[in-house]
Amino acid sequence: MVEPILDVKDLDVSFTFPDGQYKAIDSLSFTVHSNEVVGIVGESGCGKTLTSLAIMGMLPDNASITNGSICFRHKRHLVSLSEKEWQSIRGRAISMIFQEPMTALNPVYPVGKQISEVLIKHTKQSRKAIKEQTIQLMKQVGLPRAEALYHSYPHQLSGGMRQRIVIAMALIGEPDLIIADEPTTALDVTIQSQIIQLFRKLKQEKKVSMLFISHDWGVLSQVCDRVLVLYAGQLVETGPISRLVDEPLHPYTKGLIRSIPDRAKRGEPLYTIPGRVPPLKERHRGCPFYDRCRERMEICRTVRPKTVNIKEQMVQCHLYTEEMDVPSS
């Protein structure tokens, strides 16, 4: 098997509050391989963004990695790096795309310069070469008249153009891994599909590897190979996107899939999973989904389920055991 680009093992991320430490991410393990797009899905408060911040080494001051490892290209352990070492990784080895392109860009700095400063920081090329390369890339991500746009300010661009700038910013360092945190959520629908097309093109032509955070299954199924389902900081199910959509195993995944708006179900009220994600301070020993689960059993309350492999899927639920086949439901 080929070495993964990113290998996260047993990762715990905890917040420190005056009254104690609370695990926000609990024994999370997953890999991202070369030219693979891995989706992360889950309601807000499940630890999606926290996971990406942990990989970027940008956890908030009161959060820290308390256990586990993040291995990048098999050698660099992304835990316990100095700030200087992080700076050489960010933008060059791993880069990030944010949800809100307006606030992610500096409002009083020309957009072209915001892209090119990544190269100024990480390479020793001449300014002229860097500018040419930037304009080249701006054209590749679908920005017309890139030479003129180079000197414009974010407020002069449309939402879609801004997000293309942010994407170009993430691509210019030719990173091994790109983390995209809800990159299409803030855009309107037509722009959204254009940006999704851009991601597909980048995957095919630039062979990028990506961690793609979204709560939108429609978007995920268009760009992702595999999907991780996070609930309350734990990985409850993972597998190829098509399998998860067609045959979700975990009751939480089932709930998420059921709540996708569907043309066939038009007119019916949209399904929502009852209850809410338990707040950080109210999480207990057993299955994290116990409170909201429709198929819960007594054991779920006290014993945390083990991870079980079923065909290409992996699920953390007491309904399944290793030898079992997918139950016909």
Partner: protein, 314 residues
């Protein structure tokens, strides 16, 4: 363009109101100015004659109009004490106050801006906490008392700077610089403190912005982020406070010039008040106030020039 027209019209209205306030306040003065000029011995006919010459027999409105039109033509009337056109006396004193104010503002920027950046970058550490407390003290200390302390320290004890000896620029450049340095520093103290606090708060606010997180994700160092990203954003609000600082410096120079015996507008103002030379006082007050309104107007315009977000909408 519409913005500029609006600002220009408020500028004109404000100037008109300022001049009205100054004019009407001085109307309250008891007694007749002509009598004051001529002395108590002058008889009614002489007084009436002078009043006619000075235009004081006209209605208030006509007096105001002629006073204002005098301002535009540079004719500010005549000083009672010096028996000279007010404009000549002012032109004589302006360079002193201008030098003092400029030096003070330069000191404010040179000391305040680096310190503001420094304590924002070291926020939470003890150096930063101590400096923050010192800024509170800097605001609370009366500038003229700080002037005394500077004289006590540098002129009396260490004899580094002369006190009470004004040297014009034309005579000796370094001597002039020396004679302006302590007063400028005394004048700058509270503005330095205000600058530090304001810059610190602005930078810390900016550090929470999303674009700073983006910049970090690009692998940029904190230094780079502060100087290339945050300061660009922070200097726009700083400009507003600069308008305030200039006005403050002008106001403060009135007292400081008296402490250090500098022959500028401030000491002239106080001398004229004790000499009851009201035409001179009136013109000076108006002159300073109009200058402040004008500076604020310039700051407003400059604001639009340097902020790219507003530049286009204009």
């Amino acid at each position: 363009m519409r913005y500029i027209i609006y600002k220009l019209s408020t500028f004109i209205v404000t100037i008109a109101l300022v001049s009205l306030i100054v004019f009407s306040v001085f109307q309250v003065l008891p007694g007749r100015p002509a009598q004051t000029i001529l002395g108590i011995d002058a008889d009614e006919q002489q007084v009436a004659q002078l009043e006619k010459e000075l235009g004081l027999d006209q209605s208030l409105w006509e007096q105001y109009i002629s006073w204002i039109s005098g301002l535009f033509s540079g004719d500010l009337g005549e000083s009672l004490k010096y028996q000279q056109p007010v404009i000549d006396i002012l032109l004589d004193r302006i360079p002193v106050t201008f030098s003092l104010a400029m030096l003070s503002i330069v000191l404010t920027a040179l000391i305040g801006i680096p310190l503001g950046i420094f304590i924002a970058r070291t926020d939470g550490k003890w150096v930063s906490t101590i400096l923050s407390m010192l800024t509170q003290l800097g605001i609370a200390i009366p500038s003229f008392w700080f002037g005394f302390i500077l004289i006590l320290l540098f002129s009396v004890t260490f004899k580094l700077f002369p006190s009470n000896s004004y040297v014009p620029w034309s005579e000796d450049f370094f001597g002039a610089l020396q004679s302006f340095f302590l007063p400028a520093l005394a004048l700058a103290l509270s503005n330095i403190a205000i600058m530090i606090r304001y810059l610190r708060n602005t930078i810390l606010d900016q550090m929470k912005m999303d674009y700073v997180r983006t910049a970090k994700c690009k692998g940029l160092s904190e230094r780079w982020i502060v100087y290339r990203h945050i300061l660009r954003n922070a200097f726009i609000p700083i400009l507003t406070i600069f308008g305030m600082i200039i006005a403050d410096t002008l106001g403060g120079s009135i007292i400081i010039e008296n402490v250090f015996s500098l022959p500028g507008l401030g000491s002239l103002l106080i001398q004229s008040i004790s000499a009851r030379d009201f035409p001179l006082v009136q013109s000076m007050v108006l002159y300073i106030a109009v200058l402040v309104v004008f500076i604020n107007f310039l700051v407003d315009l400059l604001y639009k020039v340097i902020d790219p977000r507003i530049r286009l909408k204009g």
